[in-house]
Chain length 293, copies 4
Amino acid sequence: MKVGFIGLGSMGAGMARNLLKAGHEVTVFNRSPAKAAPLVEAGAVAASSVAEACKGEAVITMLADDAAVSSVAEGEGGILASLAPGALHVSASTISVALSEKLTAAHAEAGQLYAAAPVFGRPEVAAAGELFVAAAGPADTLTLAQPLFDAIGRQTFVFSDTPSKANLVKLSGNFLIACVIETLGEALALVGKGGVDQKQYLDFLTSTLFGAPVYRNYGNLIVDTTPRPVGFAAPLGLKDMRLALAAAEELRVPLPVGSLLRDRFLTLLANGGEGQDWSAIGRLAAKDAGGVV
Amino acid sequence: MKVGFIGLGSMGAGMARNLLKAGHEVTVFNRSPAKAAPLVEAGAVAASSVAEACKGEAVITMLADDAAVSSVAEGEGGILASLAPGALHVSASTISVALSEKLTAAHAEAGQLYAAAPVFGRPEVAAAGELFVAAAGPADTLTLAQPLFDAIGRQTFVFSDTPSKANLVKLSGNFLIACVIETLGEALALVGKGGVDQKQYLDFLTSTLFGAPVYRNYGNLIVDTTPRPVGFAAPLGLKDMRLALAAAEELRVPLPVGSLLRDRFLTLLANGGEGQDWSAIGRLAAKDAGGVV
Amino acid sequence: MKVGFIGLGSMGAGMARNLLKAGHEVTVFNRSPAKAAPLVEAGAVAASSVAEACKGEAVITMLADDAAVSSVAEGEGGILASLAPGALHVSASTISVALSEKLTAAHAEAGQLYAAAPVFGRPEVAAAGELFVAAAGPADTLTLAQPLFDAIGRQTFVFSDTPSKANLVKLSGNFLIACVIETLGEALALVGKGGVDQKQYLDFLTSTLFGAPVYRNYGNLIVDTTPRPVGFAAPLGLKDMRLALAAAEELRVPLPVGSLLRDRFLTLLANGGEGQDWSAIGRLAAKDAGGVV
Amino acid sequence: MKVGFIGLGSMGAGMARNLLKAGHEVTVFNRSPAKAAPLVEAGAVAASSVAEACKGEAVITMLADDAAVSSVAEGEGGILASLAPGALHVSASTISVALSEKLTAAHAEAGQLYAAAPVFGRPEVAAAGELFVAAAGPADTLTLAQPLFDAIGRQTFVFSDTPSKANLVKLSGNFLIACVIETLGEALALVGKGGVDQKQYLDFLTSTLFGAPVYRNYGNLIVDTTPRPVGFAAPLGLKDMRLALAAAEELRVPLPVGSLLRDRFLTLLANGGEGQDWSAIGRLAAKDAGGVV
């Protein structure tokens, strides 16, 4: 397929590269153009504007937040103004349910197709083309998009013909990951201060009832404080909790652990955590406990 | 080994049966003696008193709470008074760190051996002999107890030579399971009220990042409301949160999600949940949201 | 003064009436015009548009939320477009810090004056002209507005020359009132279920350490379930918690009790509370406790 | 009356002195006898044992916790063993509902009278004889005790003929005070970080809707960090939250803000707060917010 890709951050770069590998013709655009260079080397065409990235059958957006997606989708030279009738916008970003609903209506009015397909996985998983794709949109639209999903992901899960449902699934999924970080952090603070070896404890958990990738990965990130690159920045974690809570508020669903997580992120960000990985909230319980180790 | 087994509830019955299967000579005791009958049929000897169950090399206790363990361990005719010098008491119950410390001291003073070996798994896992055993105690003592652990469990994890550390691990583990129930309940309420199919959502979670038994089992218990036998009663869930919080308080470790879980169990128990499985707290989020489906 | 008044709800009607009583020339506007009739009878002039209410030296807005204030302030025929240079907009509504900052900039650009002066007190207090006014804005502007404050309030407190600080004070004040409702509700559920007479308990509290109007008023609203008119509707309570949390999030201040209150309001609204007074959250603790009396 | 007084801490010393002032014959006992000296100077007789303090018509206990009260009430030479039949034990300490129930039964069995009369007020209020007394017990018993209450307090509130109800009132009252500290702390962190003067804000609150002593006193303790003597130590605050939560758990009443307060005290105590006044939890919100001023 001839496809545009907008947003070459740590996730998007890997996704665009896997589209190329799968044989698609990819035109890439990024606000700061330097990030396009390695992809051009790998065979992509660099677009000098959003509009240029919208000349194919489809365009994928993978951006940090609602504001970034709005700024490329709306207004003069934006996706809505540039995409051909019948062409497809796949929104892979973690955005609000409300913005996804707004885009659904706007693309319909413009005679364009729209699907939401947020993805699960950290940058190394994106690079490996092993993301999980949570997709929603009209059946025809998803069929059209499937080759793109196949290129970036290991498996696609279809939830609804209403795109915003996929955004709700993504937000609730990130909420559940943050729950794992927080609750593991509490348990590790408790056993650690009680004199149990934290790594041995984690090994026990993940080889018994909690044998899921999310416990292994985040458990290690909490216990092993070796400096490493930020996979998912703390401010994005706060953003996701805010969006999950906003969706929940709209639906009148109280999420008490969600509220607590939002407070954790605020505490982290108010105390120097702006540049840390979101897993750093998993060390706040130990800090409250006076520092464990 | 010649071993006594005290406490033939839904967990203990299966454990005792697996000791028999493994070829141990088992003398069983239960407060209400009717529960001993099926085990006697399977080859066990029925003891008419705690003291009678203490005549072998070891005795295992598997009882509901601190009060029950104290009542068989202490006082005239109790385990401490009845066990031979050098014989072993394995406490498999989920009891407080404080009581485990008290038993450690009391058995030492009586010249007896003591190990804590609480287990992970619901009744059907106990019946299958596939429990995970979290053990702590002096190395020699644990070596002695290993054949018993092998009979009841799939794998033994040794945490410390201080028995109470295993109790801390068990309590923190149950805390983490309850965290899964609560947070899954919140996420399911959110997506369910938002119009996403809950079973499909659960399937997505457990085939991606949350592919752990605990998510599968408790997810199903929350979503599928078919009546079924109670595996772990809600009042025991409250007890475990209380013991985890008590251990944490002693160690000065705040556990905010633990506090929230305690409140959930109180809400459940105050509203007719005394006879329900503890997974019922996973449906309170949906109830707060006005009933989802 | 010649002053316009926009928003004749249960609070605004009383405030406008007290401006008339104090001798000001008042032009009133309300989206549904029927509410203007009793004030016209009392001497006010009815405006048929927002613009008509902006022909004097000042205009006061007293509306339900950000959306309502935006809709009368912005756009064609709105306050910003209609008010004379040098004329004054007093925003008495409980609005977000962000909107107040936006209005500050917009009025400055239009050469108009702007002050924020949210008020404390329920409808009967507004009717009595006994509100507390929390004001902020440039000193000159506040001096100009003082006669208006004197007409509607018992006392004016000046916080800053930056208008939005008064909005922050108002939101934090409503947060503190909601805290009283929630915590009184918890204490009343505890002692009530424990067999202590709730009215006697409340009388004890308010004649000793908690002798403040807010404890007396809200204590009675919780304990005495006689049906009565809604003073401050639950959805407005949720809105205020949301705005307080939004301001706090912007400032990176975690408010754990604020988070809990937001969840309480969601629970109330999801369970039939849309038309109830916000004090109804004070009965949720008793409900969680299984119903106390 | 001829009355014994056991427990001469910062509260008890003032209370005993006021009993002397009112003309009662007071025999005082304290575990560390040095504290008796100033009272002996003021006219008291120093007892060298608990039993000696139990020779009059009544004995009052004012001790730190359940353990201290148990240790003087029970066992050889304790109050239960020493008090004459028909003589009265007034328990003024903040103890658990459970211990109060146990003492009620034990004194009845010993043919002695028992009333619970916990008091509200900090040490300076105790010194002034201006405490509020929350009393419960059989009517005859309370009539007998009234002259003692009159000596130490400004006003007596009678709640029930079951003594432990007064303990429940006391615990719920301390819970409500801690709620004020926490919620004021959150509001002060919010407005302070937002640029509003905290003292001016506090002055506004306490001269309007929150005009209660508890807001004035604790507001000042939070905002004004001048070192001053500890009025009520943080570990006692934790104890009171624990006892309130234990009573609530027994009654199946979830107290979410109570749970949060317990966590706050644990955080405080885990981070150097053992020797601080309990009002220090009111500064944790600002600390979480990165330090406000």
